[in-house]
Symmetry: C3
Subunit: 261 residues, 3 copies
């Protein structure tokens, strides 16, 4: 028996919107400690991890660990039937064939119940070792989404260069080329969500396919900031924190470019 | 000779937008008491009635009853040439071949005149007897439009169940199923436009095609509230009041479902 | 060596948006006094002129006159990578193969550099003599854009009649016909951007293809007002002033209509 309550439907909507760009179907692993999801995109190049801790829910109960296979488009359709401020209750019996979703408004005079069919999804799980990244860029998630969109109109790949001075995003295409430099801010107000900081042991440069970054950028509404974690010869990790509750992480393998600078 | 003045073009725009989803062409019956329109959709399943009382116009004159056949898409195109706050004057001579529309702004320095070609439309009129409905649901028109849109993403038909407790809208589709319950409010503020009330002599349940309801929902901008009137073995009637002026009513025959609950 | 600085990227964006509807590629002639562009649409019916005076830039330097051939869609794509409030620096070396564009935000912590490939464009330049127009209509640029859009839903051509009373725009199509009259305002507040004035020596009437006017109307965001300059047997000239900096002018030859009134 699983039962979890989220006070605002908008949060769950944003989480599903962020994942469903990469995969159509995914396994949600429910356990006592919370919910975990791991999904590989169809081309096996990008990997996404979601972790929602049980203490981030207003109510959470999971009698025994259970994996629920869910079609994310169907999930998204049903979530669109909730108002952003609705409370959402998720429920599944042991061996359930459907996930039950209940939306209730604060006046308690409107209650919706939806059943989402569950499915068996055969996925091998991948272990991603923790890394001592050489460079960690922390920047506005909205700015990240904008850069990805802007450079997407110029070329198909972006080179991310992290140095002590800041982080530079570059792209080249048929019309010309461009790069955007965000300077490292030495002293940052705690309140500031727009400042960029780069923590670095060694400069790193990686070239990445912009179409995956465009998918990752769908997670920007979830978080004020994104961190980009880089190390030579390993996938780049993008992390969006989900406030007081967990995070969503995306891993993307760099492109090997002959003319890589 | 017909002459009618409406102080705000936006009202006429909303009326035509609400009807043109169901029918391409319609007869407007002008008489001393006002304007009536009756239109059957192409598949002969949904019927719409419009009534605008003469006293709701700021000026109204109709020397003798006259029927004007109008292409609603053309009418809509011309109305889009008015500003929402423009005064609209409608004019037609006896045996006119065109309807004259004049839009004037409040500063009186901008005046537009349009002529809309009239046409002969051959339509049999249908008598709809007044009914003692078993259940009358009064609810927010905006909420109605939202439920129709939400359930339209789940299935093709909606079952409306009216009971003393409230009204429940349910739909089933390939991804799962869902239902939305609006509870009956015993005491309702006169100001409230969001509360739901159900007046009932006997519980009624009908299954209706959502695509027609999606068309009816185009009338939601016209009115704060919609009433849904149900009785066994007769079409469901949806009424949107047009403030101080009349109403628009839609009739839709229920679907006979084998698995109807 | 060319170097020019515009304090706000939004202005340059609007200028390019206004021209790129008419032509795909254009020559920008840089000289000591400023920038000039002349472009003929593909069907050789509409002509556009842009003039930006050097004193309208916050910095301007042009060592020797130079013509830069630019693909306007590529230019527009790169400009979309700037924020509206960014400062834009345009730079080209002598015999440059690319135009360099630098965008910088006011906090100076975000800097973007783009290179736009230049091209050789072979265009004959056209001389347009100055005219003593018979009628000059000055009106709101936004109102002009709206009339063009509204009448575009009625017909394919608009007749512009300028008289002492005002200016009338008329169109006829399959659904009907329409005309919009803007009355001449004798005394106009200097602040008013919505009033219409008609200076006239002789009434003029011209019929013009609405599809070109729809392109010209893309310049409306650049200016509060547009002037329409008419004279018998010569193209109509539409002028949008670019504040303190120059103007964009469009010339369109009237249609010869058999049933022209």
């Amino acid at each position: 028996m699983i039962e979890a309550v989220i006070p605002q439907a908008s949060l769950l909507k944003k989480i599903i919107e962020a994942i469903k760009e990469l995969v159509d179907e995914a396994n949600f692993d429910f356990s006592e400690t919370g919910i975990r999801l791991q999904a590989m995109d169809k081309s096996h190049i990008a990997l996404s991890f979601l972790h929602l801790r049980s203490d981030g829910f207003s109510e959470y109960r999971c009698d025994r660990s259970q994996t629920l296979g869910i079609n994310l488009n169907s999930f998204s359709k049903i979530l669109k039937c909730s108002a952003n401020d609705d409370q959402v209750q998720i429920k599944a019996a042991d061996e359930a064939e459907a996930l039950s979703l209940t939306f209730e408004n604060s006046a308690k005079d409107r209650m919706s119940e939806f059943n989402l069919k569950l499915m068996d999804i055969d996925i091998d799980s991948v272990e991603v070792p923790d890394m001592d990244y050489q460079a960690t860029v922390s920047m506005s998630a909205q700015e990240f989404a904008r850069i990805v969109r802007d450079l997407g109109s110029i070329g198909e790949a972006v080179t991310i260069d992290a140095t002590k001075q800041g982080v530079r995003f570059s792209a080249t295409g048929d019309d010309g080329s461009g790069n955007i430099l965000l300077k490292h801010q030495k002293s940052v107000d705690d309140d500031s969500t727009s400042a960029t900081t780069v923590e670095i042991t060694e400069p790193v440069s990686h070239s990445l396919a912009l179409k995956y970054l465009a998918n990752f950028a769908k997670a920007a509404p979830l978080a004020d900031r994104v961190t980009i974690n880089l190390i030579e010869e390993a996938p780049v990790m993008f992390e969006f924190k989900i406030s007081d509750m967990g995070h969503i992480r995306f891993y993307l393998a760099p492109q090997i470019e002959e003319d890589n600078d």
